[in-house]
Amino acid sequence: MRKLSFDSKFEIIRFSVAILIALLLSFIIILLVSDTPFLALQKLYLGPIENLRRFGNVIELAITLSFAGLSIAIIFSSNEFNLASEGAFYASGAVAAMFVLSNSLPAIISPFLSILLGGVVGAVIVTIPAVLKKKWGASELVSSLMLNFIVLYFARYFINNVFKDPSAGYNATYLLPETAKLSKIVSGTRIHSGLIILIVTVIACVLFMEKTKWGFELTQVGRNRQFAKYVGINTSAIVIMSQVLGGFIAGVGGAVETLGMYTRFQWQSLPGYGFDGVIVAILAKNKPRYVPIAAFFLAYIRIGADKMATSTDVTSEMIAIIQGIIIMLVAATAFLSNTRQKMLVKEVRNNG
């Protein structure tokens, strides 16, 4: 086996401690607020593996979170804080639903085109803040946050007016045609063929980031933009490319979620997947190959929290606190830095 470098060894320690602290925190919070703390803890940690259906829920959620995580990982690789993936998820879900409702294409072709269209919509949306920044120097963080709301209300207009099913009894589109929906692939669960699309996307992203010229250039741009310019990389093109790509993936994710999980499109507010993508990407250190693992971890504690909420007096939103603490600890460069320094001094002195 290859010997781990000093940095990777330390990273693993840091990561484990961060997760441990967060788990401990969840433990304390539950002890404080619950009348049945041990049942709550059991449901939180073991709920997701109680039966196949619930484990299926974890996978279903992990599919969506993986798309979101890949999207953000690729966008953040360029060191741009563009959060328009959130709006992209919503809009592409809505557009995918509207597309399949406005034609009667046969199975396979219909979802395929719909997902592709969702991807394009996502790419366009996420690219807007990047273009605004390039052209006018407007902060991509602020403009993407504003854009999310604009996209939400704009798309929702069509959902609630043009495509609204009056007989549904609530704001939602007509029933999505069966031909358009992604087939279930594991009986007893709702795991759908979006999983296959995800696997293909993950492999494509890993290859893209690790094996292509563009992925290489993107990595260098993110690590040191001055260096990238100096070696002749067209940094603005690479930045735009990463936003287009990240937006496309978010868009595919939104469409897959809609066609895989729902009978109608009925989101009335932003789904939050863009921000979830930030959590996943940070846990995965912006590396596509780790995204599915990070997404699985997040989906697991989310489903565990849901299970806990339905069986006990602790609400699932508790998990938001745990997540927040985990990301900040994982991203904290000075977290355990004293330990690192001590380890390093020892290592340097040992090596002469």
Partner: protein, 515 residues
């Protein structure tokens, strides 16, 4: 005279593993001007940062008037009466001279700042030490020399008894240097002790009483300045006699490769830092550009390499206008570049050695197949370069930030020199690296020249640039002030006069570089 300050067995290991101070001892006598010399990276700045509380030592003790001190922050250092004037000024540009001088110990009410009291107190200290400076002026409107004075006043205002000056003359004009020295003598006469960090031996001989010499993170000797010669100091600094001893045949100047015509560049603050500059660079020659840092070298290099756009003028490479070309296009034409700011621009610190080497080869068919990386070939190629350029590293996958300065520079050179270049812009190629690496890079530069390439060399090291260059340009205040067709025929003293702007050749003489 007794020691007022002692630093004992100071060790410092930086988070990237670099040992900057290795059991260093340093002492200071009251009322002296004490020179601290050493090459870049010898550890003198680190030692002073420890004294001033900016860096914490890994271990070691500091005694001031025989009392052991713990200095956790600059605030502690200031409290003990230490003041530091940094090489890069620590001033707030948008604020006035008075606001900067009193910064941190504002007189009057905290909740109702009164600028007239501040100005009066600033004026008081200015008069006490016979400075001449307008307290109301904004720092951004001041010359470098005046800014330095504000820095010194800032320290004095806080009651500094020991002043640390980090390479104070590196940025000054000769007149300003003369003024500074007068000022330092006044301070000495008033009982202040001064640590003078420099590599300018002439200046040290002129103003300092004692000297501490550092090399490779250790103290290699303390002397009375009068008892050592410049040659001896230099030998101690570099470890052996610093004759670069470069073997090269006389240049046989070839075709014009690069031509710069009437080039003007503004810096970020919209100040013209390069003014109507013209020259030609021929094949098979090394043209040196020498000058004090900040006289337009950066802008010259950046505009030739495409990193900034020239504001006016023309740059022709191989008879093609490259003014508005991208960096990549200019590089593909056969121009390579060793940047002056190695850590900021020359490398991506978090990337591996291999990634840093490969960064300019993403269009190379041998290593990339239709945009897909040939991982195995790249790995083999980078490992070959590592051994060819004697980079000390266990593998090409090590993050480059783990290497020493010299080895990092070798990686940069390996990347730039092998890219089939016809012309190389080498900016401070050997700054702060060990002699072995420096000699290796010199040899490679001469080899390239002999293979019909052209080299534009920029360096602040006079002996290096003199022995390496075939012909030589001197840059001062954004313009060329002298041209020497044969670099070996000019003395360092003569160059110094041009670099400081004391002398200037006639337009006609300078224009010879446009031939």
């Amino acid at each position: 005279m007794k020691d007022i300050l002692r630093m004992e067995n100071i060790n410092k290991i930086y988070p990237n593993g670099v040992i900057a101070n290795n059991n260093v001892n340093f002492s200071l006598r009251e009322g002296e001007i004490h020179a601290l010399v050493g090459e870049n990276g010898a550890g003198k700045s680190t030692l002073m940062k420890i004294l001033f509380g900016i860096e914490k030592p890994t271990d070691g003790k500091i005694f001031y008037q025989d009392e052991e001190l713990t200095i956790d922050s600059p605030l502690d250092a200031i409290k003990y009466g230490f003041g530091m004037v940094h090489q890069h000024f620590m001033l707030v540009e948008s604020m006035s001279v008075a606001e900067n001088i009193v910064l941190g110990s504002e007189p009057g009410s905290s909740w109702n700042l009164d600028s007239s009291i501040q100005e009066a107190q600033a004026k008081e200290i200015i008069d006490k030490y016979h400075f001449q400076i307008n307290v109301k002026e904004k720092i951004s409107d001041l010359s470098i020399g005046l800014r330095q004075k504000v820095e010194i006043l800032k320290a004095l205002f806080k009651g500094a008894k020991i002043l640390i000056l980090d390479e104070p003359t590196a940025v000054l004009t000769p007149q300003e240097t003369v003024e500074l020295f007068e000022q330092l003598r006044i301070l000495k006469a008033q009982g202040h002790t001064i640590i003078f960090i420099s590599h300018k031996l002439t200046e040290i001989k002129e103003i300092c009483d004692r000297i501490t010499i550092m090399r490779d993170a250790t103290n290699v000797g303390v002397y009375d300045v009068e008892s050592v010669t410049k040659e001896e100091i230099s030998d101690l600094m570099v470890g052996k006699s610093m004759d670069w001893n470069i073997h090269k045949t006389p240049a046989i100047s070839g075709d014009t490769l690069l031509e710069v015509k009437d080039l003007t560049v503004l810096n970020e603050a919209n100040i013209p830092t390069l003014k109507h500059v013209s020259f030609k660079l021929h094949r098979s020659t090394i043209l040196g550009v020498v000058g004090i840092e900040g006289n337009g070298q950066k802008e010259l290099v950046d505009s030739i390499t495409g990193l900034t756009k020239a504001d006016s003028g023309e740059i022709l490479f191989k008879n093609e206008l490259i003014n508005s070309m991208s960096v990549n296009d200019i590089r593909s034409l056969g121009l390579a570049h060793i940047p002056g700011d190695r850590m900021e621009r020359g490398i991506a610190a978090d990337s591996s050695i291999e990634e840093n080497m490969f960064a300019t080869y993403t269009n190379d068919n041998k290593l990339v197949n239709k945009n897909f990386l040939k991982t195995k070939e790249i790995n083999k190629w980078s490992n070959n370069l590592i051994s060819e350029f004697h980079v000390k590293a266990s593998s090409s996958n090590v993050p480059i930030k783990m290497l020493s300065g010299g080895n990092i520079q070798k990686v940069i050179v390996a990347r730039e020199f092998t890219s089939n270049c016809d012309c190389i812009i080498a900016n401070q190629p050997t700054r702060g690296i060990d002699i072995g690496a420096a000699k290796f890079i010199h040899k490679k530069l001469v080899e390239l020249r002999d293979k019909n390439a052209a080299v534009l060399l920029l360096s602040a090291d006079l002996s290096e640039i003199k022995s390496l260059s075939d012909s030589l340009l001197v840059i001062y205040n954004g313009q060329f002030v002298a041209y020497f067709e044969d670099a070996s025929k000019v003395s360092e003293e003569e160059l110094g006069k041009y670099m400081l702007g004391i002398e200037k050749q006639t337009e006609l003489e300078i224009k010879r570089c446009e031939r």
